[in-house]
């Protein structure tokens, strides 16, 4: 069951711009529509819609989330097996394989190439068989710096 757009749509076009499969079409200031054949249920349209006009696969209205609060993948290098399943799963092509660290770890590992391109769909997390990908809300940079010593002290 694909996502759908209801009449409250104001036609701002935000969903069309973010949809990774170009499933959403429409005219500005008109109700947009989703091509069910192309929709991959990533939920990006629902998260970005300012007028609560997107229904998810269960028919529930999606709630808008501030883009900076969207979840992003965090990779655990120790459990990662470099199989690149996550890179293939990403519909926004925002992951890439890193360079090898050296002879001790000659395998490349996935990393977020383009933070702004990530649509927070979590497909990478869902498709990783070993649970090396976790979707987390990013912590603002200055805050993370502050919290680091605290985390270390807690250890």
């Amino acid at each position: 069951m694909p996502y759908t757009i209801i009449d409250t749509c104001t036609g701002c076009g935000a969903c069309e711009r973010i949809c990774p499969t170009r499933a959403i079409t429409g005219k500005k200031k008109d109700v947009y529509r989703i091509d069910g054949d192309l929709c991959i249920e990533c939920g990006a349209c629902g998260r970005i819609c300012p007028s609560a006009a997107v229904k998810d696969r269960f028919g529930r209205i999606c709630v808008m989330v501030k883009r900076s609060q969207w979840k992003r993948p965090v990779f655990d290098r120790d459990t990662c097996m470099s199989c690149s399943m996550c890179i293939d799963a990403c519909p926004a092509n925002c992951l890439e394989l890193s360079e090898a660290k050296g002879p001790k770890d000659p395998h490349g590992h996935p990393r977020l190439k383009d933070e702004r391109a990530c649509i927070g769909c979590g497909f990478c997390e869902a498709e990783c068989p070993v649970g090396a990908v976790t979707m987390l809300v990013p912590v603002p940079k200055d805050e993370s710096r502050k919290s680091k010593p605290a985390a270390e002290a807690a250890r």
Partner: protein, 653 residues
């Protein structure tokens, strides 16, 4: 219901330039799986009997596996299928990389091409929009250059499969590349793509691949991954070479456990056997005439696994592979990097031609990858030309002045350039050794080593008769990735499938027992063929399945991904059905299965006077008959009987 497969294939008619989507009923998947089985099911009726492999009637298919994208490991293999121009038989070639999931993400289990395009084209699929685009500007460019241009144009999310100049020039030993140097090389299917004037496929789909129970698949994958990650440092590579020597000297052999091979793959890649293999007689030397005596450690040192590994700057993993046996190496000179030369390439361009120059192995590997030519067949053809030159059949006049003495590296490089460009003698050699011998004549035929026209890989049937049997009996002759006695030991199928002979890991047996033709040997060979058809239907990598059926749970993965509840025996029956269908395909196209017998020299007729395989002969006639009888094919002709076809639910014409 989600069952891991997409349920649709795309049929492209290049003559008319139109596309047709076809729904595949669930029963077909239950009977043939996806991948190679689905392809055999579709192409059996659709390629008319006697079709010209390089004509419009031949159909070229790109198929993905049933398990690809479901969360199972080792499932990144895609296969190219069609009628082979090299052998005239059923042709398939198998390749890793990242192209396999790309086929499914476009919503298809396979993409099939018929007809011939008027001008060079490439297929581009994005967001369900299918277009044939002009490829005139790409024609003539090498595989890697073309891939870079197409990725530049269509974005980094696209996946590309492409032919190089060898395929364009219809070289019968050409293949199809992806990921800048992984190549589906065997069976000459690059020429089929070239004959259709199809330069490339560019796929950029985003469809989700949904298995029946993803958590169950993941659970099995986690367990498998623990085995893959278990690694003991194996020390310097000279150790493997000396083990090879030891295995040669001892009168006994030992059943292998796949974990040992896995550790070699993890440390060095397939090249871990570069020195060990010629030592114990697994790799042919000097166009199958020589032995380890001609290729001692001092000479094989040119392909020392540690030496090769020194140039590797990153490991290369195919899609969904936790092992990463590939690698990328930095080079100096014309090309700055190359995929780490695989075992087959190294031995075909090294020992088989007596070439001791390490740099040339890297250079030729990259050169052939870019040209889209099979390194095994190219190496074997050059080795054959060298022997003809040494025997005086080819003279300096014939070779355009190239001094093709054994091991003359510069002449070899020049000859391979000529083969790619089809210049002078290269034009004759570009179609493989059988076709070349036919053109040259003068008794050169007796130096060719092939099965049904395809040069066998660098695994010697005189060391492991299983290889020889599979080179001869398989519907795609000359392939080393379908079975062997060694593979049977590593698959450990007896742990799951009832009625198969046990061969416990590290069990010691006398070498002579390998050369008998008993019921046990037949069961082993048949089990390998059936299982590999299941593996190729699932899209799994053979190296992954070497871990053994309990550690790489092929059958359990299939059940979890599809929601079926099939027993291992039922899956083996599917394998048998696919094998029989492929054989029936050959019979329909007028192939005499007996003619696919391997050349005498590679069977030990006459036996070698010295070296690891001294005095060894493969009892091939008995083995072939037994194999055919086991499958319910006529033991004298190798043709599937009507009762067998009916019993497997295959239509009889």
């Amino acid at each position: 219901m989600n069952r891991g497969y997409m349920g649709r294939v795309l049929m492209v008619d290049l003559t008319k330039g139109d596309f047709r989507e076809e729904r595949i009923p669930d029963e077909v998947y239950e009977k043939y799986l996806s991948g190679i089985g689905l392809a055999a099911y579709l192409l059996y009726d659709r390629i008319p009997a006697g079709a010209d492999p390089l004509g419009p009637e031949n159909i070229l298919g790109f198929v993905s596996g049933l398990l690809t994208g479901t969360g199972s490991l080792f499932s990144g293999r895609w296969m190219v299928v069609g009628k082979s121009p090299l052998t005239g038989t059923w042709g398939d070639a198998n390749c890793g990389g990242s192209f396999s999931p790309a086929i499914k993400r476009c919503g298809y289990d396979g993409i099939f091409f018929s007809g011939v395009s008027e001008k060079p084209v490439y297929l581009y699929i994005k967001d369900r929009k299918i277009t044939l685009m002009d490829a005139s500007h790409l024609w003539g460019k090498d595989a890697i250059e073309t891939e870079e241009i197409l990725l530049e144009r269509h974005g980094p999310g696209a996946r590309v499969a492409v032919i190089g100049p060898a395929g364009e020039r219809l070289s019968l030993i050409s293949g199809i590349c992806n990921d800048k140097g992984r190549i589906a090389a065997r069976s000459g299917l690059g020429a089929v793509m070239g004959s259709k004037r199809l330069k490339a496929l560019v796929l950029d789909g985003k469809k989700r691949i949904t298995p029946y129970d993803r958590e169950a698949v993941h659970k099995l994958s986690r367990k498998c991954n623990r085995w893959v990650q278990f690694q003991v440092p194996l020390g310097p590579s000279i150790g493997t070479a000396l083990i090879g020597t030891l295995l040669r000297v001892l009168p006994t052999a030992m059943a292998m456990d796949g974990m040992v091979y896995k550790m070699i793959l993890r440390q060095w890649g397939t090249g871990g056997l570069n020195q060990m293999s010629p030592e114990w007689g697994d790799s042919p030397v000097k166009n199958w005439k020589g032995s380890n005596v001609d290729w001692p450690l001092k000479k094989s040192k040119s392909a020392d696994p540690d030496l090769v590994k020194k140039l590797e700057f990153i490991k290369y993993h195919c899609y969904s592979c936790p092992l990463g046996c590939g690698g990328k190496c930095s080079l100096t000179g014309k090309y700055s990097e190359t995929h780490k030369p695989e075992y087959e390439s190294v031995l075909a361009l090294g020992g088989l031609c007596m070439n001791e120059d390490t740099d040339s192995l890297f250079y030729l590997n990259e050169l052939l990858n870019r040209a889209g030519m099979d390194t095994i067949s190219a190496g074997a053809t050059v080795a054959w030309a060298m022997e003809c030159f040494e025997q005086g059949i080819l003279t300096l006049d014939d070779t355009d002045g190239l001094d093709l003495r054994w091991g003359n590296t510069s002449a070899m490089i020049a000859l391979i350039h000529k083969m790619i460009n089809r210049e002078g003698i290269g034009d004759i050699l570009a179609d493989g050794s059988r076709a070349a011998a036919k053109k040259i004549g003068r008794g050169s035929e007796k130096y060719t080593v092939h099965a049904g026209g395809q040069e066998p890989a660098m695994h010697d049937g005189r060391q492991d008769p299983g290889f020889a049997v599979h080179y001869c009996v398989e519907p795609t002759p000359g392939r080393h990735t379908l079975g062997a006695q060694l593979y049977y030991e590593m698959f450990q199928l007896w742990k799951k499938v009832r009625g198969l002979p046990k061969k416990l890991p590290f069990q010691i047996y006398h070498k002579n027992s390998k050369y008998r033709a008993t019921e046990k040997h037949t069961l082993e060979a048949a089990a390998c063929s059936k299982y590999m058809n299941v593996v190729n239907g699932a899209g799994l990598c053979m190296f992954g399945t070497f871990l053994g059926i309990t550690r790489t749970p092929t059958f359990d993965w299939l059940n979890a991904a599809t929601g079926w509840n099939k027993t291992p025996e039922e899956y083996m029956e599917i394998g048998k059905r696919i094998q029989t269908l492929k054989q029936a395909f050959n019979v329909r196209h007028g192939i005499d299965p007996r003619a696919n017998r391997l050349s005498d020299r590679a069977l030990g007729i006459p036996p070698q006077p010295q070296g690891a395989n001294k005095g060894r002969t493969v009892p091939i006639e008995n083995r072939m008959e037994d194999y055919w009888r086991h499958f319910g094919w006529d033991p004298t002709t190798g043709k599937p009987t009507d009762e067998t076809l009916a019993g497997l639910g295959l239509s009889v014409e």
